[in-house]
């Protein structure tokens, strides 16, 4: 917390090295969340830049009693929502999403990874947000609740419902066959 406070104070003074430190510390999480929520590489890059612009503009309003990471992830989720809203209003949004591959530079993933990703992508936005923040970003319930500005109980409910749907999707895809069952502990 004190480290975050010091970093923010230096950023507010306009020190370039502090701004660089903040970007390099949080850009993997920000960009990963953008990619997982937007499902588009170029959009994720654009939104990630907007997220950091918004972060630097709003640093004065950051509550130093709260950790910095959930605050930045909250901004990230909000910017992704705004971007998805804009994209949904485009007349050719469907063709746009189909024409552009989600991860053009990525190596082909295995069947299980693709199945999980497809199942998560099919979730509604709130479930996908909490699923990504919990399972892919390693955020706890309290941090997700702080980022989304929702009660912990709501976050927990969304995550459990999302998990139930993902598990059902994995079963439907045949990715939970008994021959894949691991050995139970003795």
């Amino acid at each position: 917390m004190a480290e975050d406070d010091d970093l923010v104070r230096r950023c507010l003074k306009g020190r370039t090295e502090a701004m660089r430190e903040l970007v390099e510390r949080f850009q993997p999480d920000v960009f990963a969340v953008c990619v997982r929520l937007l499902r588009h590489q170029q959009d994720a890059e654009d939104v990630a830049q907007e997220v950091f612009l918004r972060v630097f503009r709003s640093l004065k309003g950051w509550d130093s009693a709260r950790p910095l990471r959930p605050w930045i992830l909250g901004i990230t989720v909000n910017r992704c929502r705004t971007w998805m809203g804009k994209r949904a209003r485009l007349p050719d949004s469907v063709e746009y999403l189909h024409d552009v591959p989600a991860r053009p530079d990525e190596q082909p993933a295995d069947e299980l990874t693709l199945g999980i990703r497809a199942a998560v992508d099919s979730l509604r936005d709130e479930y996908r947000e909490v699923f990504v923040l919990f399972h892919e970003q390693g955020q706890c319930y309290e941090e997700i609740a702080a980022a989304l500005e929702r009660p912990v109980g709501t976050v927990k409910t969304w995550l459990h419902r999302g998990r139930t749907l993902v598990l059902a999707d994995l079963r439907r895809r045949g990715l939970a066959e008994p021959d894949l069952q691991p050995k139970t502990p003795p």
Partner: protein, 237 residues
């Protein structure tokens, strides 16, 4: 009702045992228990659906989330854009402050310039007729001064008053007794009057000189008023 059923609602085909099993799966996925422990439950052997769900949860938990590869130069682009944005915001803030100050200064200067000339304008409905130009008169060339005019008026009034006084007082000067201005102590107190009183002359003669006496009395009063000496007692006519 167990917490899982309270959160997700009762499923039509889910038995209480299934709901309890799925709740254990959720708890394990939350990281509060080992997921392998759910396979030891008797319900995992009894219910194929729940066992498959537990297997899917295990696959989900064990699946390695591939790290998202960052685009090359993303940090540099973000930093460059953030610095530009900060510079623009600072410049905009200064420009706004300068604009505000300029506006305020302009308002003050405008007020100062307009205020002395704020005289009532002629009625626009009145027809303005252009008069022929007049040649300047000598009086206008040397405009009269107020103090000089007042001094002339005072002199004229004083001369008129002096003439009236002279015309009144001079004919009646003989009626004024020639009394010594200084009274010596050795002089007798009971002196004979220099002339007789008008009241002692006969009535006919008195009526004949009545206008003269009235005029004289008025003139004496005016004279005494002009000289600043008020008579102790008014003469009885």
């Amino acid at each position: 009702m167990n917490p899982f059923a309270r959160e997700f609602g009762p499923e039509p085909s889910a038995s209480p045992e299934c709901a309890a099993f799925l709740e254990r799966v959720q708890i394990a996925l939350d990281g509060e228990a080992a997921l392998g422990s759910v396979f030891e439950l008797p319900h995992a052997e009894e219910c194929a659906d729940c066992r498959q769900t537990a297997l899917a949860a295990q696959r989900l938990q064990c699946s390695i989330v591939p790290p998202v590869e960052l685009p090359v130069g993303l940090a540099e682009r973000i930093l460059e854009r953030a610095i530009d944005d900060r510079r623009i915001r600072i410049r905009t803030r200064w420009f706004s402050a300068a604009s505000l100050a300029t506006l305020a200064a302009g308002a003050v200067i405008g007020t100062l310039l307009v205020w002395p000339n704020s005289q009532p304008k002629p009625d626009s409905s009145t027809e303005i007729v252009a008069l022929p130009p007049k040649e300047p008169s000598p009086a206008i060339a040397n405009p009269p001064r107020f103090d000089e005019r007042m001094a002339d008026a005072g002199t004229a009034i004083a001369s008129i008053s002096r003439n009236a006084k002279d015309q009144t007082v001079t004919p009646t000067r003989n009626f004024i007794p020639q009394a010594p201005t200084t009274i010596s102590p050795e002089m007798p107190s009971n002196l004979e009057p220099a002339a007789e009183s008008i009241a002692e002359i006969p009535q006919n003669a008195r009526s004949g000189i009545e206008p003269v006496t009235s005029t004289t009395r008025r003139a004496v009063n005016l004279f005494l008023r002009d000289t600043g000496v008020s008579p102790a007692t008014k003469p009885k006519s």
